[in-house]
């Protein structure tokens, strides 16, 4: 058995992710993605008030912070057939938009950038040359030599203090870093600026949801009332603030994020040749322009792309028991009726079974990949593994002929002088994230204007209370709440019985992407991507693994599911 390379913890992500790779020389032959922490939220949700579910579900992830709350309220609304007031849908869209822009920018600068940017190299940069570089790619005003000199001084003081803090033990000086010092300095400056900028962007959630992280939602609309004449509601002043925030987002995306992405990508074009993985892409679609969740009104279309074939889009039905299923052949769970089958989320189970399913007793150095090796399940669409996320969405938009997308993709490819196939790669994934951020921030203006138009026309409804009281509900109902989260297609399935949650299952983007192999040894998206043309320059400093994994923007807390208390399965001893 060949030596296994282990990266654990994978840092600069959300949650606890472990990658094990079986090496073939310096190339990755086989990769195994493992979520190593479990909480049991789906189990905890059982028996609770469906109206409360969003708050629990939202805590699946504090980075995605909005998406699980959103999917949760939508699942209840789907189950109870609640149609939202148009204003509520628009406010939700604005909140989703802010989430995307905030999340993608932070991912790029704070989670992903250090894979490409050598902070230490920035100390060697010439501030004047950096200024020239910055001004050549963007009109962003903070680009003077003095500005970059200050930034450089700050880093220098920091480094000279001897305490490197978060920069300690980075792979600085690794040959895979290819940016010139000036580009590194510019990126570090923007790393710091983005930290400041994101605080402002998050304020949009605070306006409508009271705080960020974890803004508030309600089933049936939004909690914030609109009343132009009240101090205590969304009034004219608040609207003006919202517009300011949208504009500041737009400026940053246009003048910093897009130019930086393109500038950095220009130095790493070789990363368009690896990290593709599955070639299958799935989108649930999202961002309706009307009160109902009518796919026809979605900004992001719904569908499945198989084997890179952009010409054929396959339809998805979230309620169809044969389409979306989760498998646990390599997961630390038990299904009551056997572990070989897949379960549709309505019938989903989360019975924790670590020891009996191949979990290695900690402390361990290596997982037993022949058996269970992850707390993530393996979701499949019609039995096939799928990649979800920005690349999937951009491809869907491109395939459905979305004009702005076509324009952006073509601009990017032509600037970088790359073919369309370049999208199917680690770098393509990162670029797609940037492009969809642009699409999103532009769309936010439209929703904002629609909202203002409604209010001016006298429609201030933000909440539908007709089905608020549980006594008004049917004794049994089930619904699927879905959304396109920044990391990809997210679905929450709820079964309501007698006003309480009878079953709750979330199939999340990072389960699609980071999930383990299924019973047919079909790899998950991370695994497939790592197995695609990855050679490590230095196995002690596997930065290449980080690049491809980070290109997915992992969010592992989301991906991990949890127990069924009634079964007491954890205690059963399995007889093989």
């Amino acid at each position: 058995m060949s030596e296994r390379l282990v990266v654990d913890p994978i840092t600069r992500i959300e949650g606890h992710l472990r990658i094990e790779a079986r090496m073939d020389g310096s190339s990755i032959a086989q990769a195994y993605s493992s979520g190593t922490s479990v909480r049991g939220i789906e189990t905890i949700l059982k028996g609770r008030d469906p109206r409360d579910a969003w708050a629990f579900a939202q805590r699946i992830c504090g980075v995605c912070t909005l998406v699980h709350g959103m999917a949760s309220v939508r699942s209840v609304e789907d189950a109870l057939k609640i149609e939202l007031p148009a204003n509520a849908q628009l406010i939700r869209n604005l909140m989703i938009g802010a989430q995307y822009v905030h999340d993608h920018v932070m991912h790029f600068y704070h989670l992903h950038a250090l894979d490409w940017v050598d902070v230490v190299s920035a100390l060697d940069a010439d501030p004047k040359a950096t200024s020239d570089l910055a001004q050549s790619i963007s009109t962003w005003p903070k680009s003077s030599p003095g500005y970059f000199a200050d930034t450089q001084k700050r880093i220098k003081t920091f480094v000279e203090s001897g305490q490197l803090g978060i920069f300690a033990n980075g792979y600085w000086g690794h040959p895979a870093y290819k940016l010139p010092p000036e580009a590194n300095l510019m990126a570090v400056a923007h790393y710091l600026e983005a930290l400041a900028w994101q605080r402002d962007a998050a304020r949009l959630h605070a306006i409508f949801g009271g705080k960020n992280p974890h803004p508030n939602f309600v089933v049936g609309g939004v909690a914030c009332p609109i009343d132009l004449n009240s101090d205590s509601a969304i009034n004219a002043k608040r609207f003006a603030e919202v517009l300011d925030i949208i504009q500041s987002m737009q400026t940053f995306v246009d003048q910093v994020y897009i130019p930086d992405t393109l500038a950095i990508a220009g130095f790493y074009k070789d990363w368009t040749e690896r990290g593709e993985g599955l070639g299958n892409f799935l989108c649930y679609g999202d961002l309706p322009s009307v009160g109902s969740m009518d796919p026809a009104s979605f900004l992001f279309p719904r569908g499945v792309i198989l084997n890179r074939d952009l010409s054929t889009l396959h339809e998805i039905d979230l309620h169809d028991a044969s389409q979306i299923q989760e498998f646990i052949a390599h997961s630390w769970y038990d299904y009551d009726a056997g572990n070989d089958q897949g379960l549709h989320p309505y019938d989903g189970e989360t019975n924790l079974e670590y020891d009996g399913r191949g979990g290695v007793k900690p402390p361990y150095t290596q997982l037993d990949v022949e058996q269970g090796y992850s707390w993530m399940k393996a979701p499949r669409w019609k039995g096939q593994a799928m990649e979800v996320g920005p690349l999937a969405r951009v491809l869907m938009l491109y395939a459905t002929g979305h004009a702005q997308t076509k324009e952006l993709v073509e601009m990017t490819l032509s600037k970088l002088d790359l073919p369309i196939e370049a999208l199917f790669s680690t770098l393509g994934r990162t670029a797609a994230r940037t492009l969809e951020t642009k699409i999103m921030v532009d769309a936010m203006h439209g929703w904002y204007e629609a909202l203002i138009a409604n209010v001016k026309a006298g429609d201030t409804r933000t909440f539908d209370d007709s089905l608020w009281t549980p006594s008004s509900w049917p004794s049994e109902a089930r619904g699927a709440g879905y959304m396109e989260a920044p990391r990809g297609a997210l679905g929450h399935w709820i079964v309501i019985r007698d006003g309480k949650i009878a079953n709750y299952q979330a199939v999340v983007p990072s389960t699609w992407n980071a999930g383990p192999r299924d019973g047919t040894d079909q790899a998950g998206a991370y695994e497939a991507a790592l197995e695609d043309n990855h050679q490590l320059a230095d196995v002690k400093q596997p930065i290449e693994i980080l690049r491809t994994i980070h290109s997915f923007d992992p969010c592992i807390a989301c991906a991990v599911h949890l127990t069924d208390p009634e079964s007491g399965k954890q205690l059963q001893i399995k007889i093989a």
Binding site: A196, R199, D200, N235, A236, E449, K456
Partner: protein, 151 residues
């Protein structure tokens, strides 16, 4: 770009303190506190600083407070760690001191009841060096690396 500028923005009457009595006016309590502080300032010269960030203000409370205090003749700005804006109110001896960070986000907002807000006064350590610094300038060699005085 948007229609927000056409939305009628209603502003509370700014002329007098009485205005529209609010149901949750914590501003009123602070005004009472300011009054007591003024009495102390006049009687004993004791200065008072009130941190408005620590007040459970509702939306509109701060506006009500500042409207009531009005605007006086003196405005000043200190550039240190981002701007600090000092505004005299229409009530002599009552100052609004607004500490902002480099991104213009408020760090904290104080009301100072004093003859001159503390931040405007030269700091004793700086004052101790004042003669040296002037002498240095008279010699035509400004001392390097000295913190800039607010201009």
């Amino acid at each position: 770009m948007s229609g927000s500028d056409q939305i009628p923005v209603s502003i509370e009457s700014s002329a007098s303190c009485s205005g529209k009595p609010r149901d949750y006016g914590n501003a009123r309590a602070v005004l009472g506190q300011i009054r007591h502080a003024l009495e102390r300032l006049i009687a004993s010269g004791e200065e008072t600083r009130i941190d408005l960030n620590a007040m459970p203000f509702g939306p509109g409370d701060l506006e009500h407070l500042t409207n009531c205090l009005g605007t006086g003749e003196v405005q000043a700005s200190v550039e240190a760690l981002g701007p600090t804006r000092i505004q005299e109110t229409a009530i002599p001896g009552v100052w609004l001191v607004d500490y902002l960070n480099a991104e213009n986000q408020r760090l904290t907002l104080h009301i100072e009841i004093a003859n001159v807000p503390q931040i405007l006064c030269p700091q004793p350590q700086d004052l101790a060096l004042a003669i040296d610094r002037l002498d240095a300038r008279l010699d035509g060699t400004p001392a390097p690396n000295t913190p800039p005085l607010s201009s």
